[in-house]
């Protein structure tokens, strides 16, 4: 390593420090924007340092520069366009796409590096091959897996688990091919073998995500994010670049933590999620089976009276709220209540959206101040003091059945909605949630069901409250 490349490595360390500080500043919404700026600065420094290194070495051909610059510019334009235009409800798809391209790029770096080394005299170094292999496998699996996840989230591919006969056997066969080929590559330099590794990994990525249901998407996205980070770190080992190693490790840690948080929030093991099959919802029982005699249905006016004369209201939003585009309406209702001295807060379950923290972003977009967005542990003790819990579009995460053994959601941490003095549930029908079981909250004597589309219901509630309290 000559002194020039050493200096460039030092610049990379500076960039890596910026990434760490940037992530650190994200521990509070107040400083998070600065964190993103610090992280961006680190990235600009790293890319500039790379360009300077390339110019200094002077080994790049005219065609090479053209290819790289055009590729970078077109990619930047595509990224910029999608980032500017994406709807907040579609954020999980976009993050998934970024996972795909990140993992894909990391795999390409390793593949290309291998092609170079393989043609060089002496072939490929032993230890490098380990990282090349890992990078190619993880990167390729992430690439196709994330594309499938994005397709499922976007509705291009069915959100239902896709399970076909022999899928498990095919998965095992692919895993054997991947491990076998990787082992072969350790002893023999062979480009065709690397291609087989790439293709098998790509196929494995598809088959890995297809059987996973829509409700498990927060876990899948987190896991693929961790994969992408790991692939980038492996690419860093292949080309001996500290910036890639540090950045990849940070992302791997972030994805890993979020995967665990999401899996815990559903009380399911990662293995159980990966096997798939959950989240079908097709074994839902018909309404009549739920002992419908105990269900109390109310209209907007009655619900509005409860809200208007409450002193503390907790709103429990679920993904159904976002699907109905009702988040702005809810924010308006909350403002009306607050302007009459009613305390309003939001109880957000970790898996309330389609990715970790998704519901918070949707409500922030609807102009809800972040101090009102309460995490599960924080809000659960407050339900007992709440006069009304208003549940909109949330189902399984409010089901008291989770506290008992022997149900599909047993042990899942839930919001203690049933502790509130009265409960209003806005719902289109008695259909069950992803877990496919009836919600015992609905037959609670304190619960009133308000059957309507979330957006329409919220608008009616708002106007009814307005007329009541003037």
């Amino acid at each position: 390593m000559n002194s020039f490349t050493t200096n460039i490595q030092l610049v990379y360390i500076l960039a890596a420090a910026c990434f760490v500080i940037g992530l650190h500043l994200m521990n509070s919404p107040a400083t998070a924007r600065r964190g993103n700026q610090v992280s961006t600065a680190g990235m600009v420094i790293a890319v500039l340092a790379t360009l300077i290194l390339l110019i200094h070495e002077g080994s790049v051909t005219g065609v090479g520069w053209t290819v790289l610059i055009v590729g970078t510019l077109l990619g930047s334009a595509a990224g910029l366009y999608s980032a500017r235009t994406v709807q907040m409800t579609a954020m999980p798809q976009l993050v998934s796409m970024f996972n795909a391209v990140g993992g894909g790029a990391a795999a390409l770096v390793a593949i290309y590096g291998y092609m170079q080394d393989e043609s060089a005299p002496g072939g490929v170094l032993g230890t490098t091959t380990v990282f090349t292999g890992l990078d190619v496998i993880i990167g390729s699996v992430t690439f196709t897996g994330s594309l499938i996840a994005a397709g499922k989230l976007q509705g291009i591919i069915t959100g239902q688990p896709v399970i076909f006969k022999g899928a498990r056997a095919l998965n095992i066969a692919l895993a054997v091919i991947i491990v076998g080929t990787a082992a072969f590559l350790l002893t023999t330099a062979s480009l065709p073998a690397l291609l087989i590794l790439v293709l098998a990994s790509l196929a494995f990525g598809v088959l890995m995500v297809l059987p996973i249901g829509g409700a498990d998407m927060p876990v899948v996205i987190s896991l693929l994010n961790a994969f992408t980070g790991t692939a980038v770190a492996m690419a860093g080992f292949v080309i001996t670049n500290w910036a890639l190693i540090v950045a990849g490790a940070l992302v791997g840690a972030s994805g890993g933590i979020l995967t665990k948080l999401m899996a815990d929030a559903m009380n399911r093991s990662l293995a159980n999620i990966m096997v798939g099959g959950f989240g079908t919802g097709d074994n839902a029982l018909p309404v009549a089976a739920a002992g419908d005699a105990q269900i109390r249905s109310i209209a907007a006016d009655d619900a509005a009276i409860q809200l208007a004369y409450a002193s503390k209201v907790i709103i429990v939003p679920g993904y159904g709220l976002a699907a109905a585009q009702a988040q702005h309406g809810v924010a308006e209702l909350a403002q009306v209540l607050e302007s009459h001295g009613i305390e309003v807060s939001y109880a957000i379950h970790p898996v309330a959206g389609r990715m970790p923290g998704h519901m918070n972003v949707l409500l922030a977009e609807a102009n809800v101040p972040y101090p009102l967005l309460k995490e599960m542990e924080e809000i659960n003790p407050e339900f007992a003091r709440a006069d009304v819990a208003l549940v909109i579009g949330a189902n399984d995460v409010t089901n008291p059945a989770a506290r008992r053994a022997g149900t599909a959601i047993s042990g899942m941490p839930i919001l203690d909605v049933d502790q509130a003095k009265s409960i209003i549930v806005v719902k289109r029908s008695m259909a069950s949630g992803y877990a496919g079981i009836d919600n015992e909250l609905y037959v609670n004597p304190k619960t009133s069901m308000y059957f309507a589309d979330a957006k329409k219901a919220v608008a009616e509630l708002t106007s009814a409250v307005k007329t009541l309290v003037g």
Binding site: M26, S39, T72, G75, V95, I245
Partner: protein, 121 residues
């Protein structure tokens, strides 16, 4: 095992531990922007794509370099922009509707300006 590899592994393990420590403190409210920020950070693979792409001298090499640069650039630019966009929406207090804003700021920023102009002229 070479010293360079040991150094690389050391950096990897330490960075992983730092990541766990730092990210564990991020509140659930910010988990989506966190993931998006992490996304943009792994866009550093752009540096890798550039470093490796410059050695291209065959058609296949150019194609791979182009795709890698495209992917990585989309990742890094899109990631940072969308993270910034999301974080901008997180406010401590609700922004009042425009009509209220004018009323509330009656004695605020817009009003003094003309008065000052009037005083000086």
């Amino acid at each position: 095992m070479s010293t360079a590899l040991v150094t690389d592994l050391t950096i990897f393990v330490l960075a992983l531990l730092v990541g766990i420590e730092v990210i564990g403190k991020v509140p659930a409210t910010l988990h989506t922007p966190l993931m998006s920020a992490a996304n943009s950070i792994h866009g550093i693979v752009l540096a890798g794509a550039l470093l490796i792409g410059v050695t291209a001298h065959t058609f296949v090499g150019y194609v791979l370099a182009f795709v890698a640069a495209f992917f990585a650039a989309a990742n890094v630019v899109g990631g940072y922009v969308v993270t910034g966009r999301m974080l901008k929406m997180f406010r401590r207090k609700a922004v009042p509707p425009p009509a209220d804003a004018v009323g509330a700021n009656g004695q605020g920023t817009p009003a003094p300006a003309p008065r000052k102009d009037g005083a000086t002229s």
